[in-house]
Amino acid sequence: MHKGILFSINPNTGTPVFKQLVDQTQRLIARGQLKEGDLLPSTRELAKLLTINPMTVSKAYSQLETMHLVTRKKGIGMLVNSAAELGQTQQQLFQPALIETCLQGKQLGLSLQEIKALLSKQWRTME
């Protein structure tokens, strides 16, 4: 299967596109959608698929390489390493989103109970 379709980015936010790709790859590995030995799309392919600058994809891949999440194999491409390299659990990867949600809830004056209720309601709509 072509792994490119696993990625989706939104260039129109405050998070740089390369950062979105790095974060997303981490999540895909944590979840097991990207497994050890899987081949990531080539820089050109992914850039084409997402209509983004190929240099942005290279930048993300280089960073993933530095994080030991992928290995560059000459003539083949980027291979995904074992999930053990993540060093972070799914729960740890969720932390930033959680902090943001709680912070915004607090700013809006919502109580913990209200946030919990909203969370369950939203969860159910996505099931």
């Binding site: 260039p11 405050g14 596109v17």
Partner: protein, 297 residues
């Protein structure tokens, strides 16, 4: 290093008077412009109407001889650059009007005679991709269709420097996406440099590596887009007495606003200590459009 485009301390103004008996008036269009584009970069040129984008592009191309300073294309002065340099560049103007030709395909064949390494097949491929009719006279085509022809013609000799002045202003969302895809898939490689002005920040966010923002005829900012997004934050402070003193110590803050007991301001570069104070409420990351608006308030 021979930069594809480099400007050094460039200033220009137009002189004119509305009536013969009036004193001539100087209208400054560019002020102390200095920057360079590295090979392989894609730079989005941003600025409000009248900020100087088109004048900057015209100086770059050698269509205007600046009163002060210089512009260089691959190391040669833009104003008297030779044939070899011109073979390496391409320009898509805001308005493309060559209605004399019977159709786009004929026009492209004539156009190709000016270039040594013209790829007619490539141009026709793009014209077809853009849905340009083969047998329709140019004057019957819409502004958007003419803009597409202009883009196709600019790519025919695979220029090393491509300069586009609002290339997508008249294009629909689908055509805009096609245009970006053509640039990425069929044209760009690490030896090609692109400078394009646009008001559509989401397009710039997709393909630009750098942004150059003009404000009041000067360069306000020239930076990598990733760095800008990582460093630029909009801060909101709750107005405790310490906050006002604290604010005085911060340099380069932009668009400071006060509403009731809140102060918001923007910083384009990370400063040590910011965000550590007890009274900092939020540090919000901005997309390019929000950032552009903050820079102009």
């Amino acid at each position: 290093m021979n930069y594809p485009l480099k400007m050094v301390d460039l200033s220009h103004s137009y002189q004119g008077r509305a009536w013969p008996w009036q004193q001539p008036k100087q209208d400054q269009v560019l002020k102390n412009i200095g920057f360079q584009l590295k090979p392989g970069t894609i730079t989005g040129l941003l600025g409000v109407n009248g900020a100087g984008k088109t004048s900057l592009i015209q100086c770059a191309l050698g269509l205007i001889n600046p009163q002060q300073g210089n512009s260089y294309l691959f190391g040669q002065n833009s104003w008297d650059s030779d044939h070899n340099i011109r073979q390496q560049i391409a320009y898509v103007p805001q308005l493309f009007d060559l209605a004399l030709y019977s159709n786009a395909f004929k026009l492209s064949k004539h156009w190709g005679h000016y270039y040594n390494n013209w790829d007619q097949g490539f141009v026709e491929k793009i014209l077809r991709l853009f849905g340009i009719p083969e047998n329709q006279p140019l004057q019957q085509l819409s502004i958007g269709q003419r803009q597409k022809i202009s883009i196709a013609l600019a790519l025919g000799h695979r220029p090393n420097l491509l300069i586009l002045d609002e290339p997508v202003a008249s294009l629909d969302p689908l055509s805009r996406r096609q245009f970006l895809q053509v640039l990425i898939e069929d044209y760009w490689d690490e030896h090609k440099t692109i400078l394009f002005s646009s008001h559509i920040t989401s397009d710039i966010e997709r393909i630009a590596s750098d942004v150059l923002i003009l404000k009041d005829q000067e360069i306000l900012l020239h930076q990598s887009l990733d760095e800008l997004k990582q460093n630029c934050r909009k801060y909101t402070l709750e107005n405790c007495p310490a906050a006002t003193d604290y604010l005085k110590e911060i340099d380069h803050k932009l668009s400071v606003r006060t509403l009731d007991d809140r102060i918001t301001f923007c910083l384009t570069e990370a400063q040590p200590g910011i965000g550590q104070q007890a009274f900092t409420l939020t540090a919000e990351a901005l997309n390019l459009e929000a950032l552009f608006l903050e820079l102009h308030t």
